[in-house]
């Protein structure tokens, strides 16, 4: 028992390498109007964006921290560096031109390999800025746009950004949305035109290298009517002994009869405060599919929200959360049924181990006008020992009788009989338990492209290794 | 004999789609007569039965339904039932929390508008259950909950006998039943003929259930239209030779 966490930490080192940031451009620690102005200037913002940032900062200073959920006392905003630009930063679309240490980072994480194999386009962010962005020619020819927000702000899509940026997640939403509005940097802009169906996913990878820094990337995706996109997001960071902060924001606009699948494997290091906001607005007949695996972070607040705004629109949410030693992961989802005949389906699994805390938190709201709507929520939790914790807090607010809502929750442990059965077939107890946990997380595993499912399974094996004393 | 049911030029579409299923049905049933409605799968037989009953899954777009001299085309389901039509369901729904006895008593009281003493009602119910070879314990079970296919069909016939309608539409009442159950259901239908003397419209593609009944008229429905009508001998003919002959003649 005593050695297990050490083993896990050592194995984690494949994500734990880091490079010097000495040459990088950084703003001072903390948060003042001057720092925000400085970031805005560095990024060559249009005027409206500069004003938006300053307004967001004002809102940030007015909103209190949440009075529910995990403690974020360890996060001292006066010491977070909100903007770190890698040295010689220039966004490249030729991999060979990316600086060597950054290139090495992503090579180790397998990003260029994945691009060659099975992706329609790739973006890679290192600290606060995008370092690489590329879209296959065949995809670009269909009119698909995949770039960083900064470029888009000055290009032909400037109006589109202006009309959508933080409209779904306004800075007033909560404290860290306001923070994001003030200091956001990097991220992706994707536009899929009407009727375009992308057979291969687009991927974005976020890497936070700098110590004591924050990453505040903004992802804005617009999938026009009848189009289809699968977007994959990956994140990781090396471990430091001071707090890092991730307060990204994802806004997804899904047109009539369009579908967007948004997959995330989050593996931030265990000193990360992951206070991320994700939201989708779905028009008539459209669909959003969230696939989410949360493995990293010290503290997470993560509840992707689906606003079912159009008649017959749908949301599916499939997730797994694994809270190990020192982790307090508060995850779940929100669904607002705001139109008739909408449907939502939620299927989540949480695992708690080595003193980890996982909380499943959800809210399903069915508005007065959302007649004929259906919602089904199923959440399961697995406790792997008696020093961990697992809470389930699902809320339902139904404001019409013409609705059909089902909910089920289960919490328990690995059954001794199943372990015994597997061991009787020659498996070690450790392998048996790891196998059972992998199977438990299969709701997400089977929804991911193969290489990601493999990566997720590796993360589970990592966490499980040495678990048996 | 006067007609208890007159269906005139009935056109029916799905409630929320523009698909027309019945394209103008004419069908008359005389009081106390036994009619058989046959036809291949997907012909619209069940749709006809259900839309006569006011099933919200369908909408009547044209034509008329007259029952016992009153037009009931767009009446609500409960009024149609109260007027005297009963339909047995292919798949009766389960109603947890409401016992068979409690339900039938409530339905009979609703129909007649008269209060029945619990003891009198139970005596009558148990007697009828015996005709159907149903265990008396079923009276206290929740309606259709956990019933086998055969038990559900018996519970439907039990309601038929207790509610005493002037016209019974039996939808595939014999499908999926073993020989004994068919015999019991047949006995129930005979009992209905004997004690109530109402008319029957039997929707079926099998014929076992008809063996003990005197059929007055046979209608063949295909692709939303009545394509042939005849007497009882038609049932035997179809039994031996199938629908082919009728289907082909309707096309020429």
């Amino acid at each position: 028992m005593k050695e297990k966490t050490q083993v896990a930490d050592i194995d984690r080192s494949m994500y734990d390498f880091r490079y010097s940031e000495d040459d990088a451009y950084k703003v001072d620690e903390g948060l003042t109007p001057e720092i925000v102005e400085q970031i805005s200037k560095e990024k060559n913002d249009p005027d409206w964006m500069r004003e938006f940032r300053l307004k967001s900062l004002e809102i940030y200073n007015q909103i209190p921290v949440p009075n529910w959920g995990p403690s974020i006392e360890g996060l001292d905003m006066d010491h977070i560096v909100t903007y770190v630009r890698p040295k010689d930063n220039k966004m490249e679309n030729d991999w060979d031109n990316v600086p060597t240490d950054i290139k090495d980072t992503f090579e180790k994480l397998g990003i260029p390999q994945a691009e060659r194999k099975s992706l329609a386009g790739v973006g890679a962010q290192y600290d606060s800025e995008l370092v690489y962005h590329n879209v296959k020619d065949s995809v670009a020819e269909k009119g698909v746009v995949y770039t960083d927000i900064e470029s888009a702000l000055h290009g032909p899509y400037a109006d589109m950004i202006h009309d959508h940026f933080m409209k779904l997640v306004p800075p007033t939403d909560h404290k860290f949305a306001a923070l994001h509005g003030a200091v956001w940097s990097g991220g992706s802009f994707v536009y899929v035109p009407k009727g375009v169906h992308l057979d291969f996913p687009l991927q974005s990878y976020f890497r936070l290298n700098a110590k004591g820094a924050g990453q505040f990337e903004h992802t804005l995706i617009i999938v026009d009517d009848d189009a289809y996109l699968h977007f994959i997001e990956g994140c990781s960071a090396p471990k430091y002994n001071v707090a890092n902060l991730h307060a990204g924001c994802v806004e997804l606009f899904i047109g009539k009869n369009a579908t967007l699948r948004y997959s995330t494997i989050e593996n931030w290091s265990k000193n990360m405060y992951n206070l991320n906001t994700k939201r989708a607005r779905v028009d008539e007949g459209g669909k959003v599919e969230w696939i989410s695996g949360s493995f990293g972070s010290h503290v997470s607040y993560l509840y992707p929200m689906s606003v079912l705004a159009g008649k017959g629109s749908r949301s599916e949410f499939t997730s797994v959360t694994f809270a190990g030693k020192g982790q307090n992961l508060d995850t779940g989802c929100k669904v607002v049924h705001a139109a008739p005949d909408t449907s939502s389906y939620v299927n989540t699994r949480s695992i708690s181990k080595d003193g980890g805390i996982s909380t499943f938190r959800s809210a399903v709201t069915i508005a007065e006008n959302a007649t004929g709507s259906k919602s089904s929520v199923s959440c399961q939790s697995l406790m792997l020992d008696d020093i961990s914790r697992s809470d389930t807090i699902p809320a339902m607010d139904i404001r019409t009788s013409d609705a059909d809502v089902g909910h089920e929750a289960k919490i328990g442990r690995i059954s001794d009989e199943v372990v015994f059965y597997l061991m009787s077939r020659g498996m070690s107890e450790e392998d048996a338990r790891a196998l059972i946990v992998s199977g438990f997380a299969d709701n997400v595993g089977k929804e991911l492209p193969l290489e990601y499912a493999v990566e997720m399974n590796n993360l589970i094996q990592l966490e499980m290794k040495g678990a048996i004393g | 004999m006067s007609d208890i049911l007159q269906v005139k030029g009935l056109k029916v579409k799905l409630a929320d789609e523009d698909t027309e299923i019945l394209h103008g049905i004419d069908l008359n049933v005389g009081a106390g007569e036994v009619h058989v409605l046959m036809g291949p799968n997907g012909a619209g037989k069940s749709t006809l039965g259900s839309s006569l009953m006011g099933d919200p899954r369908y909408r009547i777009t044209d034509g008329k339904v007259i029952f016992d001299g009153q037009e009931i085309t767009h009446e609500t389901t409960d009024k149609i039932a109260k007027a005297g039509i009963f339909m047995s369901f292919q798949n009766p729904v389960e109603v947890p929390g409401v016992s068979v006895a409690n339900f039938i008593r409530t339905a009979v009281e609703n129909k007649t508008g008269e209060h029945i003493k619990a003891w009198d009602f139970m005596k009558d119910l148990k007697k009828t259950m015996r005709v159907l070879d149903m265990d008396p314990s079923y009276a206290e079970r929740d309606l259709n909950v956990g019933f086998s296919g055969g038990e559900k069909k018996k519970a439907e016939i039990l309601q038929l006998l207790m509610l005493k309608p002037q016209l019974a539409i039996l939808d595939e009442t014999d499908s999926g039943l073993d020989v004994d159950a068919v015999r019991t259901v047949s006995a129930g239908i005979e009992e209905y003929k004997k004690t109530v003397g109402g008319a029957l419209l039997i929707i079926t593609h099998a014929t076992r259930i008809l063996e003990s009944l005197k059929v007055d008229k046979t209608h063949i429905l295909a692709d939303g239209r009545i394509i042939a009508e005849g007497d009882a001998s038609m049932v035997d003919d179809i039994n031996e030779n199938g629908f082919e002959k009728y289907l082909n003649s309707s096309k020429s």
Partner: protein, 347 residues
């Protein structure tokens, strides 16, 4: 008049949901109601002091308020198995604010039933009852509470139990109407193998509002809890149901089940449900299920095809739900009270 936080959810969530608690204006007391009490052998009744360590479902604000209002306490000591139930009938007949506190002490290995009937006719007062139940080793207490209110009354019904080794607490609560009805029940399952079984049935119509907070706090080993709520909302009625199963570290072998069915009859009804499982112990089993919605179309059509009007079907289905909970009442007279209320309620 004081603004109090009532029915506080043990684990707060998003404030915008407005489910963390309910804030309400509570009036100062005009005194105690005088219930009609039917004592039974083995039960003694005395004036007494409300336990300071009391922890109820409505929450600390309300207990402190009753302390400050100096509401008197009646103590029932039950030292024998009761052959007949102890009955308390409250017929609130004024628009005043009437508050009562009770302590029920059930001695080791004894079995007792306590039936409390509350009725308020057309009176528009604010009534409250707070009950502390202490269930000794191996004892089994059944409490039945039938609440029959018009759309005028405000009622606060708070229960806190302490259950010793092998003790059992059964609770049947039936709520038939009420302008604002607050039910709070907190059970401290501290004894090994202690158990609770709670059943709630409700039929809320008009502008009625029901606000519930059930908590099962498992500290003892092999403790079990079963919570079942089944109710009907009609017209513009509203309901909030909070149910928490709290597995506290050390409650090895504990099991908790919670099930809620809500039948929504008319479009403007509002239903809030938050079923919580908190867990800090590995060797436990917790389950929760909820089905919330209207009567299925096929069921409605089937029943209408037997000649019942939509209204008659609704009435029958509503009644079936209340009857199912009322069937748990171990007293014919009280069961009939429920039946009679529903008979007379026919529209």
């Amino acid at each position: 008049m004081s603004e109090l936080k009532l029915n506080i959810l043990p684990s707060p969530t998003w404030n915008w949901l407005r489910m963390n608690d309910t804030q309400a204006q509570i009036k100062s007391t005009d005194g105690a109601a005088v219930p009609q009490i039917t004592l039974t052998s083995g039960v003694s009744e005395n004036d007494g002091i409300f336990p300071a360590a009391y922890d109820g479902g409505i929450g600390v604000d309300f207990s402190k308020f009753l302390d400050d209002e100096k509401v008197g306490t009646e103590v029932f000591d039950i030292n024998a198995d009761t052959s007949e139930p102890l009955k308390l009938s409250f017929a609130y007949d004024s628009d005043k604010t009437l508050d009562n506190r009770f302590v029920i002490n059930l001695a080791e290995s004894k079995k007792a039933t306590v039936i409390m009937n509350f009725a308020a006719g057309q009176n528009a007062g604010q009534y409250s009852v707070q009950t502390a139940a202490r269930i000794a080793r191996g004892a089994e207490l059944t409490v039945v509470q039938v609440m029959r209110f018009s759309d005028q009354a405000t009622f606060l019904n708070d229960i806190g139990t302490d259950i010793d080794n092998g003790g059992k607490f059964n609770l049947v609560q039936i709520v038939l109407g009420g302008k604002n009805v607050f039910l709070g029940v907190k059970n401290r399952l501290s004894g090994e193998k202690s158990a609770i079984d709670m059943k709630l049935g409700y039929y809320m119509t008009g502008d009625d509002n029901l606000d519930v907070n059930y908590v099962a706090s498992h500290t003892g080993k092999k403790t079990t809890c079963d919570i079942y709520a089944n109710g009907v909302l009609r017209d513009r009625a509203q309901k909030t149901f909070r149910g928490t199963i709290d597995f506290i570290k050390g409650c090895k072998g504990a099991k908790g089940n919670e099930m809620e069915d809500v039948l929504l009859m008319d479009k403007p009804v509002k239903n809030k449900t938050i079923p919580v499982i908190l867990c800090a112990e590995e060797d436990v089993e917790g389950n929760h299920g909820a089905t919330i919605g209207k009567l299925a179309k096929d069921v409605l059509f089937y029943l209408e095809s037997r000649g019942m009007s939509q209204e008659a079907v609704y009435e029958m289905m509503a009644r079936a739900r209340i009857d199912a909970i009322a069937a748990e009442i171990p007293d014919d007279e009280t069961r009939e009270l429920v039946g009679k209320y529903l008979d007379e309620f026919r529209r």
